[in-house]
């Protein structure tokens, strides 16, 4: 039998979680609804809450004031080229995909190699090196954006895919090295020792013994690097505002729109943009803790 005090605490807990969940999911459900509204309905002074289909006789009656007709116009207009730039949302999405994917692959491979080196060799000062690597994560992007901008001007890397790829790769390395070191440390030494005794070279042992066993960890690491590159705004906005513009910069740039913001189109684009992130979050949810604490908490 449960004491009443515990019941009350439990009830209050439920109430709190329910209220928070309701409030926290409202923005995302509203985003979904906005994406299928017409532009007028999206900024209607009375909230349009109920999607209705068909054209019943009472569609304009007062009882249906909260209703709206879902439309895919928001999604369809994503393909329309912008009058000023001549480019559509998908152009920017392409830039985000190219920059995100290439930097992620580069980060995971360089980071895994580095983690393997620190995990399996006794490198002098390895602890200091590892903390140096971690400390780069704490650099505020804006502390180095000024010199990077000057460097990139010198090497013509401004407004290029390569410029952001290099930056994102270096910025995510700290995370990749720390996460991968955790994963590789968990692989028993015995496998490699057996392979080395059998005459494998170090590289061969790394490729055929470690890589397959580290693959799940690499996948998790890749997801975190991809999300971080995908969402990045500060560097992208200051370094790439003319060419190789990514989606966050494109969206932020819509602010000055004289005809009012095209909310259904923004909502549709935002959903397409965050869809993969939500999917990946669900896939790696058991490793989220590890990811956000640089592998220091393993569960």
């Amino acid at each position: 039998m449960m004491p009443t005090g515990a019941k009350i605490v439990r009830f209050v807990g439920w109430l709190f979680v329910g209220a928070y969940l309701g409030a926290a999911t409202l923005p995302l459900s509203w985003l979904v609804m906005t994406s299928v509204k017409s532009k007028e309905d999206s900024i209607s002074l009375r909230p349009k809450l109920i999607p209705i289909t068909g054209t019943g006789p009472d569609r304009e009656s007062s009882g249906r004031a909260l209703a709206f007709h879902p439309t895919v116009a928001g999604y369809a207009s994503l393909g329309d080229p912008d009058t000023a730039t001549g480019r559509s949302f998908f152009h920017y999405l392409g830039n985000s995909i190219v920059i995100g994917l290439i930097s992620t692959v580069a980060t995971v491979f360089i980071g895994t190699g580095c983690a393997y080196g620190f995990s399996r060799y006794s490198i002098p000062g390895s602890k200091d090196w590892l903390f140096f690597i971690l400390s780069t994560r704490f650099l505020p992007p804006l502390a180095i954006v000024v010199p990077v901008l000057m460097m990139y001007r010198e090497f013509d890397l401004q407004n290029t895919h390569l410029g952001l790829i290099l930056l994102y790769t270096s910025f995510n390395l700290s995370l990749a090295v720390w996460l991968m070191k955790g994963f590789i440390d968990e692989i028993p030494l015995a496998y490699e020792e057996a392979a080395l005794v059998d005459g494998y070279t170090r590289m061969h042992a790394f490729a055929s013994i470690i890589l397959p066993r580290a693959a799940p960890g690499m996948a998790v690491t890749a997801v975190f690097c991809l999300i971080s590159a995908w969402n990045e705004y500060g560097f992208a906005m200051t370094l790439n505002n003319q060419g190789a513009v990514t989606v966050p910069v494109y969206f932020a740039g819509l602010q000055g729109n004289v005809h009012g913001l095209p909310w259904p189109q923004i909502a549709a684009g935002a959903l397409i943009f965050v869809g993969p992130i939500i999917l990946f979050t669900v896939l790696v949810r058991r490793h989220l803790l590890r990811g956000v604490t640089f592998g220091t908490i393993k569960q």
Binding site: L21, T238, L261, V292
Partner: protein, 289 residues
Amino acid sequence: MATPVIRSGYGFVAPALILLIAMNIFPLLYSIYLSFTNAELTGGALADVGGRNYDIVFRASKFADALRTTAAFVASAVGIELILGFALALALHRRLWGKPVILTLLLVPMMLPQAVMGLYWKLLLNGNYGIVNQIFGTLHLGQPQWTTDPQLKFFSILVIDVWMWTPFMMLIGLASLNAIPTYIYEAAAIDRASRWRVFRRITLPMCLPLLGLAVLLRATDALKQFDLVMSVTGPNDAATQTLSALLFQVVFRDGRVGVGAAYSYVVLVVVIALASIFIRHLNASSGKR
């Protein structure tokens, strides 16, 4: 065998270290140099100006204001997120129907792009047609102008940050609760300790180290707050100008690269101070493992 082993060990770690030195350390050193010059965004020959830029930074009232705004933002954001997140963790730390789904739903905001979400929240918070004010209207709570009223802008950005980052605190809070062995609670039950006493004497102290880690991680992150400020109010709004926004304004709107470099160095000192606490904390906890 010893020498080739060490050499190949360097082969594995060198690419990462070289990239980090080229992309992070070199820019930092280069920016020391820039901070003593009259560099402008538009280019032109560089001339040495001595400590003038640092003089400008410390005399500018905007810098003190931005420092205050940032400190207020970090303290309130991290504080609210910690309390809400840990409360959620406490409420969710039990067997619950549909718990994985609830947790996933709660965690999603943390992974979303801040710049895009900041823009989208302007629709939610719009004074005339935003859903928040429509709910407020129904409840007769008035129509606050969330993103234009100077008194409320800061609060609005705070709300978005809390929405995005409370899940982070909840995640670490749950981990800290899971790490407490159940036999301690069993022992407390035998001693007939009250719930409050169990919470004060067992739960809270045993969760503190991990919550401390969470606070440090979140604080170093909140200190850089830029994306939400840019998308909600723009960089040059007196009510919301954080250090990052001020730096952006100085370099990219005023074009004063040299002054900006000096600003970034002053900011860096603050961040390094915070980060070194975190790293010492990590060092201590990794020594224990």
